[in-house]
């Protein structure tokens, strides 16, 4: 197991450097000269040339890449092209923190709706409630965020004036509710689906029948024997949803005007701010790799039968 974790940890930097290389390459392919973009209207041929030299843009591509990787290892992601030379980390960190908070709020929504509902649907298999829950959740899952977001805004903000329509004011504020719901509801649908499937699988197990046969209280069977074991496969999905939510929160951040990482990365793409973008991709990919590793390790803790190789 230790060897497995070590191997994964060794592979991670390789993967990250390949990902960074890819974005770096896209940066050189992209039209527009960063030096020219930085200088704006005042640019003259001489100025641009001097700026290119200063930014190191005239160096050959492999050299620049190696320098970049060396700097990243020292914790320096370079300076932003767009925000006049401010360090990339300084720009990204607060934005990333906003996104993380938003996604945690959304995950909480998804879990609190999804897991109990999936469990309930599985327990009611064979009645009309099960298929109606499944279909309702499928409909909600297929609902594009372009629709949920405006709908929620129109209803709760414009009509009822319960919460502000847009903006961001920290995790514990009414402004968090709508975006968290927007991301969380489709997420809940995924949880319902998987929780239902895995609960059904566990219900059929013999130890559940044994527990019931020896007269265990229903509550205990439900929670200790069924729910706890059914949660195991959900771990994987939880990790992936958390990692995947960064993509999903992009549109939501735009519609609600939340200054998160999604918004920043989108702006960076359009402003050709490749230092910001590369750093963002590196952090995102790094989180995904880390999430996968943590899930794998969590598996062995929750289910001692699993041995990693």
């Amino acid at each position: 197991m230790l060897a497995y974790i070590l191997r994964r940890l060794l592979w991670a930097p390789v993967l990250l450097s390949m990902a960074a290389f890819f974005v770096f390459m896209m940066g050189t392919c992209a039209p527009g000269d960063p030096a020219e973009l930085r200088l704006g209207n005042r640019a003259t041929e001489d100025n641009i040339e001097r700026e290119r030299e200063r930014l190191g843009l005239n160096d050959p591509f492999p050299l620049r890449y190696i320098q970049y990787v060396g700097n990243v290892l020292k914790g320096d992601f370079g300076d932003s092209y767009h925000y006049q030379g401010r360090p990339v980390l300084e720009i990204i960190a607060p934005r990333l923190w906003v996104s993380v908070q938003l996604n945690i709020a959304a995950l909480l929504v998804a879990i609190t709706i999804g897991l109990p509902l999936g469990f309930y649907a599985a327990k009611r298999q064979g009645t009309a409630r099960d298929p109606s829950i499944v279909i309702t959740m499928l409909i909600l899952y297929a609902m594009p965020v372009f629709f949920t977001a405006p709908l929620l805004i129109l209803f709760f903000a414009v009509q009822l004036h319960w919460v502000p329509a847009a903006g961001w004011d920290g995790f514990f504020s009414t402004q968090t509710i709508l975006p968290a719901l927007t991301i969380g509801i489709p997420g809940a649908a995924i949880f319902v689906r998987h929780m239902r499937a895995s609960t059904l699988e566990v219900i059929g197990q013999e130890y559940v029948r044994t527990a019931q046969a020896k007269g265990m209280p229903n509550m205990v069977v439900n929670y200790r024997h069924i729910a706890r074991n059914a949660l195991l496969p959900i771990l994987t999905i939880m990790g992936f949803t958390l990692a995947g939510m960064f993509g999903g929160s992009l549109i939501v951040e735009l519609i609600y005007g939340i200054p998160g990482a999604g918004r920043l990365s989108l702006d960076a793409i359009f402003q050709r701010d490749f230092p910001v973008l590369t750093a963002f991709v590196l952090l995102g990919a790094g989180m995904l790799v880390l999430a996968n590793l943590v899930i794998d390790i969590a598996y062995t803790i929750v289910d001692p039968r699993i041995r990693l190789q």
Binding site: L15, A30, P150, A165, Y256, I269, F280
Partner: protein, 329 residues
Amino acid sequence: MATDISTDSNFDTDNLPRARGHWRNVWRRFRKRKLAFASLIVITFIYMLGIFAPVIQTHDYHETDLYRTQQGPSAENWLGTDRAGRDLYTRVVWGIQTTVIITISTFITGSLFLGVTVGLVAGYFRGWIDAVIMRVGEVVSAFPDILLIILLAATLKPRIVQIAHDIEDNTGISGLVSSGIVDYLVIGIALLPLSWFGMMRLVRGQVLALREAEYVEAARAMGTTTPRILFRHILPNVVSPIIVSVSFGIGSIALAEVVLSFFGLGVQPPRPSLGVMIGEVTARGNTSVSVLRDHPEQLLAPIIVVWMLIFCWNIVGDALNDVLNPRAR
């Protein structure tokens, strides 16, 4: 006792149900699922709307009528008009056509052609080819999906448009850029990472198991060429999971195109796309909700189409999964 039933005098072979082919059975089982069957009909209907857009349009999709902007539904404009007085029904129908073209072409090139072939090769040959392919796939899937798609679209677009202009200048072919082919190409390339890796991994996994099967070994022993083994012996046996994966994937491809166009990176105006239409009403994420507040009904048509497509493809995918892989339940 295994007697030949046709020689058994007590057995009336004429009244036996005729043996049906595998696909006829699949189709019969699929048809019994009412919701899935209804979904398939809805999908067909929506796709037909798109394919026959030039025939069933009531206006021109870029024809503006500034005396009739932001109108509600009427006999003249079935779904009303947008802020430039363009007919919403016509634009939705053309938007569906865009979605149809992009999903189908992305699926044929990315998923079916690239994903399946690479998956077959990786699974069959294993070794370093497999390792390289899997590692590349891991790098691609390490990116947040939507972000990678947007990045590709944003950086490639100007390059490809430039190339198209060069071709136009040098060969005298005109209308290449304005025809929208370039947009489709950009979107198709940008969506590749989304479509090929999942399919590749799926096919690879199946092939890894199948290559050890006895019938494949028999084929190899008889000196069958490798491409023939791959495409005639192995591929037919992985068709079922491929179909299931395609039916689940089409919804997400359609959504990705809508997202790209929503951000202004996909189909360019005046060509309509469902994403562009949604973006115009929600003001592309600017927090101003004025159009949205005053005319939320303009969102309905494009959103419902996107919604129905994703929902129905999910239902169909579910049903196909049950019907094609009965053991997986």
